[in-house]
Structure formats: C-alpha cells, structure tokens
C-alpha cells in the first residue's frame, strides 16, 4: 500500500456568503501524520469536507484553490471519485449508520473500494485485526455500540475502501481519555502500515504526540505551522491549545485585577458597576 502526498494550495471554501476557509495551503507528505489544530469554527471540518468533496451535502462549496493527491487533482472530482482515488474520511461525531448492523456498516464502507472481492476480504481481515470488538459485534446494530466502539467502527468503515490517505475529523471527540489513547494507538498503527493520515483535532496534546507536522487554523486561515514538536514547545500553542498557563502572563493578569479591586468602591471585589447598586 504505497502512499502519495496530498497538496492543498490556496484552498478557499464557504457556506453561502460565509467564507469558512481562506487560501489554506498545507501538505501531507507520503506516509506521514499531519495534524490540524484549531478551536470551534476554525474551519477544520470544512477543510476535510473540501478535500473529500462532500461540502455540497452541508450547503457549502469550494471557492478556488487546488487539492492534489499524488499529483492528480481531487478538486475537480465527485465524492465517489475521491474515495476511488484513495482518500477516505472519518466524519466528525462518528456518524455510523445506527440502524444497520456493524457488518453492514463495513460493507457500506467497502462500496467505494476499487478493488475486487479479494481486496475487500483483505480489508475486512485487516480491520478485524485492528478492532477485534467489531468482529464480535458483527451482527449488532451500530447504534447500540458504545461511543468508543462507534469511533472504532467509523475508522474501520473508512479503512474498508483501502485508502492511501485517511482524513480523521476529531476522532477523540466525546471519548473517555483511555479510549482516546487507544484510538491514538490505532492511528499510529494504521500509519505504520503505510497509510498517510491528516488528523483534525481539538485535543492538541493528543494530536501533537501523533503528528510529525502540524498546522494551526484560526477563523479559516493557517496562522502557525511547523514540525509538531516545535509547535508543542511554542508559547503560543502551549497557552492556547495545550492549556499550559504562561506564569508571567498569569501574574500580570492577577496584578491588574488586584489594582482594579483596590480602586473599586469600598475595596469590594471587582464587579460590574451596573450591578453594584447605590
């Protein structure tokens, strides 16, 4: 399973008049894990949908720029051709087909596969190896699985098409820390088997451990990018996404509050004057 590089160049996209992505440029080298960090509404999901060409199903559209995979353009294709080209996406919030059995979910994932029966059987063996629980629950309705199992199913379903690049949208969303760590291990394993990964995450600590390179997306634009370990060490990322409080800054903030409090009426703690009353 050879990888191929993904090149996103000056990609813009939006929903109606709302511009959600502004000239985003990033690349995923062959065989690597690349992370995209950012808060809610930063355009992370839009980026993945623009790559997988599923924006129209969410009322959006690409508005310029190009996406190339192994040199061939993806931005002119329909969603099924993107899958056939070897790019599969795991959607945000898992989105398993809840009323279908686990087995049928995996079959649905294989519908976009270009390989024959043998390739599909091999893909099924692979995902059952990665996620043994899915083999045990093959005949259960997917809606009855736990959140972690559903996330495993969502990843497995995307792998059924035999992708060379996997797009992962917030795989740790709503999972217990232990389950998130297990998903992370699986992503590492999938990557080791030769599939490139573009990982979109709010859980920056987890994403930066997995990725070799990372991009920070803010209001639709790339504001920072670089090797994952450098970003993990940078103050900006530590403060904003890793929840590490910069001590000097915290002291400053504290001092400001103190002064404000001292200057307030009667030395009371600072409050909006409107509510303090006469």
């Amino acid at each position: 399973m050879g990888g191929a590089a993904l090149d996103v160049t000056r990609l813009s996209a939006g929903y109606g008049p709302v511009r959600a992505l502004r000239e985003v440029t990033l690349d995923v080298p062959q065989g690597s894990v690349v992370a995209v960090l950012g808060g809610n509404g930063a355009g992370k999901s839009t980026l993945l949908r623009a790559i997988s060409r599923t924006l129209p199903y969410y009322g959006g559209a690409s508005k310029g720029g190009s996406v190339r995979f192994g040199g061939a353009p993806l931005h002119t294709l329909t969603a099924d051709r993107v899958v056939a080209a070897g790019v599969s996406q795991v959607p945000e919030g898992r989105q398993v087909f809840a009323r279908m059995t686990v087995q049928d979910n995996l079959r649905a994932g294989a519908l976009g596969s270009t390989g024959g029966r043998a390739a599909r059987a091999a893909a099924l063996r692979r995902v059952h190896g990665l996620f043994p629980v899915l083999a045990q629950r093959a005949h259960q309705r997917a809606g009855l699985l736990s959140g972690g199992e559903q996330q495993q199913l969502a990843v497995a379903r995307a792998l059924m098409a035999g992708p060379r690049l996997l797009l992962l949208d917030e795989p740790s969303l709503g999972l217990a820390p232990m389950m998130a760590a297990r998903i992370a291990d699986t992503i590492r394993q999938i990557n080791a088997e030769g599939t490139s990964v573009l990982l979109v995450e709010q859980n920056a600590a987890l994403a930066l451990r997995l990725a070799s390179r990372a991009y920070v997306l803010e209001v639709g634009e790339v504001t920072l990018s670089g090797p994952a370990d450098e970003l993990a060490a940078s103050d900006e990322v530590r403060r904003r996404y890793l929840g590490v409080v910069d001590e000097d800054a915290a002291d400053d903030a504290f001092r400001v509050t103190e002064q404000a409090g001292a200057a307030g009426p009667g030395g009371r703690p600072p409050a909006l004057t409107r509510w303090v009353g006469p």
Binding site: S52, Y58, A79, S88, P91, Q95, R99, A108, G112, A161
Partner: protein, 296 residues
C-alpha cells in the same frame, strides 16, 4: 363462514397489491426523503402501456414493456425534474411531485378518454375453487406475484450492495457520500424500482373483477397512501403490514356493506382512511415507522 374466508383471501390479495405500491413509495421516501405524490400517475403510466400493448404484442411482452416503461418514467422524473432541485427543501420536492402528477395524469386521462382498456390477461374471469371457497384466479396470481416480488425485494434490500447503499443513503446522505456511494444513482434506482413495482400493481388493479384500465384507476392507487402512512413512511415491512391491513379492511367493509347500511354506502372506499386515522392516533409514527428523535 365461506363468505368471510373468501373476503379475507380477496382482501389479502388486494392488500399485497397495495403493498407493492406502498413499497415503491417507501423506497423513494427512504432513498431521497421525498414524499412522492406522483406515485399514482407512475402506476397509471405503467398500466396504460401494458393495457394498450396487450392487444398487439400479446400479454407477457406487453407486461414486460409496461414494467420497463414504469421504471423509465420513474427514472425520468428523478433525472429530469427532481435532480434539478437537488439541495432544496424536501417539502419543496414533495410539491414538485404534485406538479409532475398533475401533468402526467392529465396527459394519460386525455389518452384514455372515456374508454375502459381491457387487459388480455391469461386468467380472464376464471375462478379457483377449493371446497366451498372460490376465488378469482387473478386474485391468486396477484397474491403469488406480489409475494414473490416483495420477498425478492426485501432480500435484495438486506443482502446486496444495492441494498446496503440504499440503506446507508437513507440514514445519512452526507456520510454515505463519504463512503463513495453515488447518491444520484441510488435515488435513480429507487425511482426506477418504484415505477416497475407500480406497473405490476397496475396490472392487478385492472384485471378481473375490475373491467379494465380507466381514468379512475389512479384513484384506486391512492389507497396505497394510507397503506404506506399507517405502516410508517420509512419502513419497508411497515408498507407490507399497511398494505395488508388496507386490503383486508376494504374487502371486508365492501363485502359486509349490506349489513352496515346504517353507515351509508361506499364504506369500502372509506374504511382504509378510517383505519389509518385510528392507527395514527395511537402510533403517530405509524406501526413500524421510526419515531422522530433528536439526541441532544
């Protein structure tokens, strides 16, 4: 007792024909979330082709052509009309199908005029008699054919790739697209299948004891609406149950009409709707329909 068994069997047979129509209705709804008000005209189109051609090219070729035409008309509606509105609200699409229905029915009734087009079917008005119970052969054929088609359909829905694609698209179109499922093809297929099934149903609605295809045949097709609705709009098994309930209710109400004269005449036509209302009062999502639920 004999009367009751005859009426019951007749009702089950009629119900299986309604189930065919309702099944197509449900398939379209599941694949595209469109309530297809043009279903009656789809049925009329298939039935018209069968009836007109059966004189010239014989019954079986005519039936096959009729089924193919039904499928083609269904696919054409999807491809030429509904596809242009992709992304529109589903209620807008439902209203578009009303427009399509008016156009098709107007043209077909113009062609049919005041005629009654008899279908040259191999069963004629012969009866099948077992003991004291006798049933029209057409009714037996309807039951067998509908049973066979419905079984084949349900198996395909469950086990083939086509069925998996259809169910995936019904559950979540955006995610299905991520799997590489071609949604356009899925909805085209749904409309074609529904058109074909409707054409088969049209045949059994126009043979004995009905004199033939006439303008009013599309009204008979309307009874599949309560069948689909009371079964639950998105449930294939619900369509079967609904079809049978409507068929049996209609048959019994018509058969025992003379005992129920205090309710006035024409109870048979009314009964399916009464049953539908009664069931929806108890189960608003239909017998087997999915309840609207939202997870917060």
């Amino acid at each position: 007792m004999t009367t009751f068994i005859e009426l019951l069997l007749g009702g089950v047979s009629l119900g299986s024909v309604y189930a065919l129509i309702a099944l197509g209705f449900v398939v379209i709804f599941r694949a595209t979330e469109v309530v297809n008000f043009a279903h009656a005209s789809l049925l009329l189109a298939g039935g018209y082709v069968t009836a007109v051609l059966s004189d010239d090219i014989g019954f079986w070729p005519a039936l096959l052509t009729g089924i193919a035409s039904g499928a083609l008309v269904g696919a054409a509606i999807e491809f030429l009309v509904l596809r242009r509105y992709r992304g529109s609200d589903h209620s807008v699409l439902a209203i578009v199908t009303i427009g399509v229905d008016i156009l098709l029915v107007t043209d077909l009734t113009r062609r049919i005029g005041t005629d009654v087009l008899a279908v040259r079917d191999p069963w004629g008005d012969q009866l099948l008699t077992i003991g004291s119970v006798s049933l029209a052969q057409t009714r037996v054929a309807a039951l067998l054919v509908a049973g066979l088609l419905i079984t084949a359909f349900l198996l395909a829905f469950r086990y083939t790739s086509w069925g998996v694609a259809m169910r995936a698209a019904a559950e979540n179109a955006g995610t299905a697209a991520l799997m590489g499922i071609r949604l356009g093809r899925v909805s085209l297929g749904a409309w074609a299948v529904a058109g074909g099934l409707a054409a088969v149903a049209a045949l059994f609605l126009t043979v004995f004891p009905t004199p033939g295809l006439e303008r009013a045949t599309s009204l008979a097709a309307l009874k599949a609406f309560p069948a689909a609705i009371l079964g639950g709009l998105d449930s294939t098994t619900g369509a079967l149950a609904g079809g049978l309930i409507v068929g049996v209710t209609e048959s019994l109400a018509t058969g025992y009409q003379s005992d129920l004269t205090f309710l006035g005449r024409g109870l048979g036509d009314l009964a399916p709707y009464l049953v539908m209302i009664a069931i929806l009062l108890v189960r608003p999502a239909g017998l087997l329909g999915t309840k609207e639920t939202a997870r917060v």
